[in-house]
């Protein structure tokens, strides 16, 4: 029983962290139409940033500044934002698939950088810090439950922030840029400024997710920022429904459940020689989910809702 409970807490914590990243992507893609193919770069910048700023000094590694946890987490977000700012200035003139290719390249470059830079831990990664406030809890289970509540709180805050944002004139502006940049510019809007703002804001949110992920595992390595994570995050958004924050969170929990269940089922029921390929089979499955969804229900399980006015409806 304890085992099941602790697993559920573990599952919900990871799914909540990933939900935050998916919400960040939804701001970029769902609301603004920015095809970010390099989600892991910003997720990773937040993760590495948080551990470097909050970590303990280690031989030969950069950082170990031992900043208070919340400041380190915030610093990770800032670093993700700075990376996004630079990448954005360089790539945001590109459209659609070109932007996707460029940002995908950035993410691969990021992975190679951390894999090869000895001061960033190289292939071994960076060991994190003792998880914050761990001493206050006697059992690991109680601590994990508390950490889940912390993550959930941040997920809810992110969700409320974005809901308010997209209901505002800023959200209207994002949608207009997504629908037709030329028309928006002819109405006095500056598409390049808006695109950059949305790109940075979404990436900061991804950085928050990365920071929480690194805190949770107290470890980050190049294996955590492989392209598959970008594809998983995209699958979560596409299945949930781009443009709908509720859909983004639901899609995350669904896909993460399907991912872990498929891994478990393969390791349990598949013949031994097939089990060797569990990871590859899962990659194929996630590809099927993305393609299938785009073919049969491109709007996702929870499609974007048209923003309508109560007053205009009442006038009829």
């Amino acid at each position: 029983m304890i085992g099941v409970l602790s697993y559920l807490i573990f599952f919900a914590t990871v799914a909540s962290i990933l939900s935050i990243a998916v919400l960040g992507l939804n701001l970029q893609w769902g609301n603004t139409g920015l095809f970010n193919g390099g989600v892991v770069a910003f997720f990773g910048a937040g993760a590495y940033g948080t551990l470097i700023l909050g970590g303990i000094p280690q031989d030969g590694l950069i950082g170990g500044f031992q900043l208070p946890y919340l400041i380190a987490l915030f610093g990770g977000m800032v670093i993700a934002g700075i990376v996004a700012w630079v990448v954005g200035l360089l790539t945001l003139r590109l459209r659609h698939d070109y932007l996707a290719i460029a940002t995908f390249g950035v993410a691969v470059a990021f992975e190679n950088l951390v894999r090869n830079a000895a001061i960033l831990g190289g292939a071994q990664g960076i060991r994190g810090f003792e998880r914050p406030l761990r001493d206050l809890f006697e059992s690991a289970l109680a601590y994990n439950a508390a950490f889940f509540v912390f993550v959930l709180t941040l997920l809810i805050l992110t969700y409320l922030f974005l809901e308010r944002l997209i209901a505002s004139p800023f959200g209207r502006l994002l949608r207009a840029i997504r629908e037709d940049e030329t028309a928006a510019q002819s109405l006095g809007k500056s598409p390049s400024r808006v695109r950059l703002t949305a790109f940075i804001a979404g990436s900061v949110i991804m950085g928050l997710a990365g920071g929480l992920y690194a805190t949770f595992y107290a470890f980050i390595s190049p294996q955590d920022v492989l392209p598959i994570l970008t594809f998983q995050i995209w699958a979560m958004l596409i299945v949930g429904g781009a443009g709908n924050n509720k859909g983004a969170v639901m899609g995350t929990f669904l896909i993460w459940a399907a991912w872990t269940a498929s891994g478990w089922a393969l390791s349990r029921f598949a013949p031994l020689e097939v089990q060797l390929y569990t990871g590859s089979i899962q990659f194929v499955l996630i590809g099927f989910v993305i393609v299938g969804m785009l073919m049969w229900r491109p709007q996702g399980l929870f499609p974007e809702k048209l923003v309508v006015s109560q007053s205009a409806a009442a006038k009829r």
Binding site: R164, L165, A167, S168, P169, F170, R172, L173, R175, A176, E179, D180, T182, A183, A184, Q185, S186, L187, G188, K189, S190, T197, A201, E304, L306, V307, V308, S309, S311, A312, A313, K315, R316
Partner: protein, 256 residues
């Protein structure tokens, strides 16, 4: 004569070897409805794109209200009172008609990332005012009953009215319409013409690209004709009908 609201001097625009607009100079007088005609490919839309900042001219200058605005960007020009519609309507398809219109006003404090959080009071007041004004404008262009429909789902003619409504939110002095009557049913065209004339009486200046000659002859004065990128005629509508150069340009170049 009074200072023209728009002064185009020797504007040329090349696409590689092809000269789409060739040394065109036009003055648009305040308060007029100028008809811009010419066969397909004459360079009318290219000229519009130069005037609205979507394309830089290869050479030449454009002055708006006496100020040199050559190579200004479209957003800056809209803020200075220049509104335009598109030949093929460009609605924000997955947004409601009302949202399309509410987007247009400038300097909305809620359009900044922190606006909804740190200036929420101001934003709410602005939104209420913008919503009221948007409903008035939609009412004016007869689209109020469609306010909550997706803009991509209304008819092509209604989209043209919607584009007009959008630019009216910016209270422009000069409005450029690219083929407002093309592909629009006669009832909506009539509505559109009424609205243009009403706005013109209120002091707004129009430049209209149109192929519908009845439309141009009845409602536009002066009429300017382009052919192969050059200005071939400028004068009153009735003169245009008997102008041999113009007839040649149409008969020689246009096959329909």
């Amino acid at each position: 004569m009074a200072e023209p609201i728009l002064s185009i001097r020797n504007v040329t625009r090349d696409f590689g070897e092809f000269r789409a607009v060739d040394d065109v100079s036009i003055d648009i007088q305040t308060g007029t409805i100028t008809g811009l005609i010419g066969p397909n490919g004459a360079g009318k839309t290219t000229l519009f794109n130069v005037l609205t900042g979507m394309l830089p001219p290869t050479s030449g200058t454009v002055h708006l209200d006496g100020q040199d605005v050559t190579r200004f960007r479209p957003d800056a020009l809209f803020a200075m009172g220049l509104g335009r519609t598109f030949q093929i309507p460009r609605p924000f398809a997955k947004m409601s008609v009302l949202e399309n219109v509410m987007l247009a006003p400038l300097a909305q404090s809620g359009e900044r990332l922190w606006g909804p959080f740190f200036q929420s009071g101001k934003m709410r007041d602005q939104e209420a005012a913008i919503r009221r004004r948007a409903m008035e404008v939609l009412d004016f262009v007869t689209l109020a009953p469609l306010a909550d429909n997706a803009a991509g789902q209304i008819s092509g003619g209604q989209m043209k009215l919607l584009e007009l409504a959008r630019i009216l939110m910016g209270d422009p002095k000069l409005i450029l319409l690219d083929e407002p009557a093309a592909g629009v049913n006669p009832t909506l065209t009539k509505t559109l013409i009424e609205k243009i004339e009403e706005l013109n009486r209120d002091g707004k200046t129009f430049v209209i690209i149109e192929h519908d000659m009845d439309f141009v002859m009845q409602h536009c004065d002066p009429v300017i004709a382009l052919a192969e990128g050059r200005k071939v005629f400028e004068g009153r509508a009735e003169e245009a009908q008997s102008n041999t150069v113009l007839l040649d340009a149409y008969l020689g170049a246009q096959v329909e």
